[in-house]
């Protein structure tokens, strides 16, 4: 089982990211669970969203305290320290930032595998809005092959309709531009 924790702010689409990934994994015949940190959704407030993917049925309803992967949608959250809480040493940090991998590591104090992409710029150029959730899925998939890219297409279509193509383009560009250091 792989556990992923997303850090974002209300309105940035962290919950949607988890849902799309879970739907893709389930479509592949695997088991998955996506859930928010259950609060009144307040735009701009820091929040977490959770994703579990497994080859076996998942019998757990607790939050994720020791994730294998952390995804940070908002660069301003990197310095808070909370992002690396419980993140396994052999895990992966996937961050949206205009800074270098070394700088991101310095900001959040994580020394393990780190993937960085300037998702805000990509989202602005590809989607016309600085909402980075689908863009960051490209970085996540490059860092960890959680699902096949093809499996995400149907969930993207269902969620975004005519905007699905642009979201997919942003995701694929992020996949290409993500820098990873071990």
């Amino acid at each position: 089982m792989i556990e992923v924790r997303f850090h974002g702010r209300g309105g940035q689409g962290a919950v949607t990211s988890c849902e799309l990934m879970a739907q893709a994994a389930i479509a592949e015949g695997r088991y998955a669970q996506a859930f928010p940190s259950f609060g009144p959704e307040r735009r701009g407030a820091p929040l977490q969203a959770y994703l579990r993917i497994s080859d076996d049925p998942i019998r757990l309803r607790e939050k994720i305290y020791h994730p294998n992967v952390v995804v940070v949608l908002d660069p301003a959250l990197l310095a808070s320290g909370a992002v690396k809480d419980g993140l396994k040493e052999d895990g992966v940090l996937v961050a949206n930032s205009s800074k270098t991998v070394a700088e991101v590591r310095g900001q959040c104090g994580y020394s393990g595998r780190t993937a960085v992409v300037d998702a805000a710029v990509i989202a602005q150029q590809e989607l016309g809005v600085p909402i980075t959730n689908t863009t960051m899925l490209g970085a996540l998939l490059k860092a960890v092959e959680l699902v096949e890219l093809d499996s995400l297409k149907a969930p993207l279509d269902a969620r975004f309709g005519r905007l699905a193509e642009k979201n997919l383009a942003a995701l694929q560009r992020a996949y290409a531009e993500t820098e990873i250091e071990e």
Partner: protein, 391 residues
Amino acid sequence: MAKRVGLEVSLACSEAVKLANVDVIAAYPITPQTHIVEHLSELVADGHLDAEFVPVESEHSAMSACVGSSAAGARTFTSSSAQGLALMHEILFIAPALRLPIVMAVANRSLSGPISIWNDHSDIMAERDIGWIQTFAENGQEVMDLTLHAFKVAEDHRVTLPMIVNLDGFILTHVIEPIEMPSQEEVDAYLPPFEPQQKLDIANPISMGLVGVPEVYTEARKAMLDALEKSYPVIKEHWDGFAQQFGRQYNPIETHHVDDADTVLVTMGSLGETAMTAVDEMRAAGRKVGQVRIRLWRPFPSGDFLDAISGAKTLVVMDRALSPGADSGPVATEIKSLIYATGGGPYVADFVAGLSGRDVTREDFKQMVDKAEAAAAAGDPMTFEMWGVKE
């Protein structure tokens, strides 16, 4: 086996209601409502479900409209939660008294105050004695399956009572997970169209909801009680039928590793899954721990429960609601009362945990088992503990 789809659990409930081809949905569409009726209103508006969606101005009106539509012979569904369920309170007693097979999904959430939107069982425990059949789901698949089962049981002429499917708010309602969706043909084979035993019909007028003067009130309540007690074998029969049709077997009391267990965790609702994983981990560490999950809450399956715990020395009962001023939470009170009648039985440790959505982890369950076993060994008084209170 049907393909699994990734679906929010609330929507799995809505899809079950659609597959049940309901005639009327009456619901208050604003907080504390869930996506269950939001999605149903979309299905009706988009023409996917041929039903009347009645968006009323309060939950009191929602249940009143359900009573009316069910009395007129319509297959009727509603859903609510927390303060909304509380606002239905006085009408909830009417439905079983009139023998109306309304089905309701309750997304279990805390009652304010302090103001809370999160999960626990305080809303439904305040409605324990309304006379409805009540089941608890542990995951999304069960929400779908128990919803279909609820229509089948409620409308059975041997039962004809309203039925609630409880699902934990947020912890189930807002989770995306794999759901096996049955086909319309399979559901139609399991659930025939609603044939009311009697209904309000201007061609054949009857009266419903008459005054129960002291000379008949007790007998009317006794008749309702008998109907609730007699529903038990029908509930089981339709779970067996469900297993034949859909391949998934449900029971009033579910057990996990109880046969040689010294200590048994007792859960109801979504805590069951995390607890099961905790039990597996304790078993792997050589602990003789088992688990009992209460799926049918009303009528309480007393015999099944006592059978399931017959070998246990210590019970660790999880309550997700307080009964202020009582010696235990509502579930442990029930269990202690049952065990008292046997003249022996295990030590009962009761933990009120997970209030207002506070996380209950595998580690919590392990610590509760340790604490319960120590209390049993020391012969401590059997009261309850509010778990994890910050000092």
